[in-house]
Amino acid sequence: MFLPGSDGPTSSLTPSVLPEHLWLAIAVAIVFSFILAAVEISREVQKTLRCCLIPQSFFYACLLIFGNLITTLLAAVLVAKMNPGLAPYYWFFAAFFGVFAFETVLKNTNVTVLDKGVLTIQDWLKKALTGATAAAIVRDVRLNDREIGKLAAALAKVPEARLNAFAAIKLASGAGASVVPQLDATAAANKADPMLYKAYAIAYAVSPSVVRAFLTEN
């Protein structure tokens, strides 16, 4: 890997520059890997990042780090052959090329036993990502259910007239003024407690901060 104007590899420079900064390349590769893992998982989960902080995400990140570290070490050997003027930044180039080369390596690497493909690294990563995504979805659902449940329980204790007025204001879009009778009718059809039904409807549809403000006033 030569940059324009490079004189080619300088064997006297290679050992003195890269090894002492190798730990920096490794650190940058690890940080890159964590960022890539966070971006990938949150993109798959389609929810907030808070639900992605789970052990399964860490396993996926570890797998990415493992692959990225190997390619970073390989890239470190190659970047040492770049223009000597860039020597102070070799560690950064090693991490950059290492992390992004991993994508290419991924597409061309197979684990085979007796010439039979067993599992590609891509499959490992896909399975780890799916596991992390599924676990993050469960966590998101549980966090939401807990929060909504608390808000709904508190709303159900508010006097009915006030709750109806709040529902009429906040849930009116599309249903107009008939939103409260509609909710009462749906609750009756489902044999549910109308107060709790309205409380849940509000807790799901209205921003938690607005609901909390309403609860403190009542």
Binding site: A134, I148, Y204
Partner: protein, 100 residues
């Protein structure tokens, strides 16, 4: 028993043959998690009564129950994510075949 592959999951859950099942599954999988109440706005009670137990039975979706059933949450499982990916690949292949 070895875990089912994506294609096996899709076939065993009848997602290819049963259009209603597939549409309900795609609605849950696309949003990752959805309230039963929101599904009721998109599908009839009969369609949901037919598809939700079948999708749960195939472990493609699960339910987090709330005190009121309408506010229970249906969410996609790891198997569901795998099946969703297989369905997307299948749709892509069909679109490509249609264009050529």
């Amino acid at each position: 028993m070895a875990p089912l592959t994506a294609i096996q999951l899709v076939l065993s859950a009848n997602l290819v043959k049963d259009a209603i099942l597939r549409t309900v599954f795609e609605a849950v999988a696309k949003s990752r998690s959805i309230q039963v109440k929101d599904l009721k706005e998109k599908f009839s009670t009969e369609q949901l009564e037919h598809s939700i137990p079948a999708l749960k039975g195939a472990d493609l979706i699960r339910e987090s129950t709330a005190p009121i059933q309408d506010f229970s949450t249906l969410y996609v499982t790891a198997n569901g994510l795998t099946a969703e990916s297989a369905l997307k690949d299948r749709n892509l292949m069909e679109n490509l075949a249609g264009q050529s």
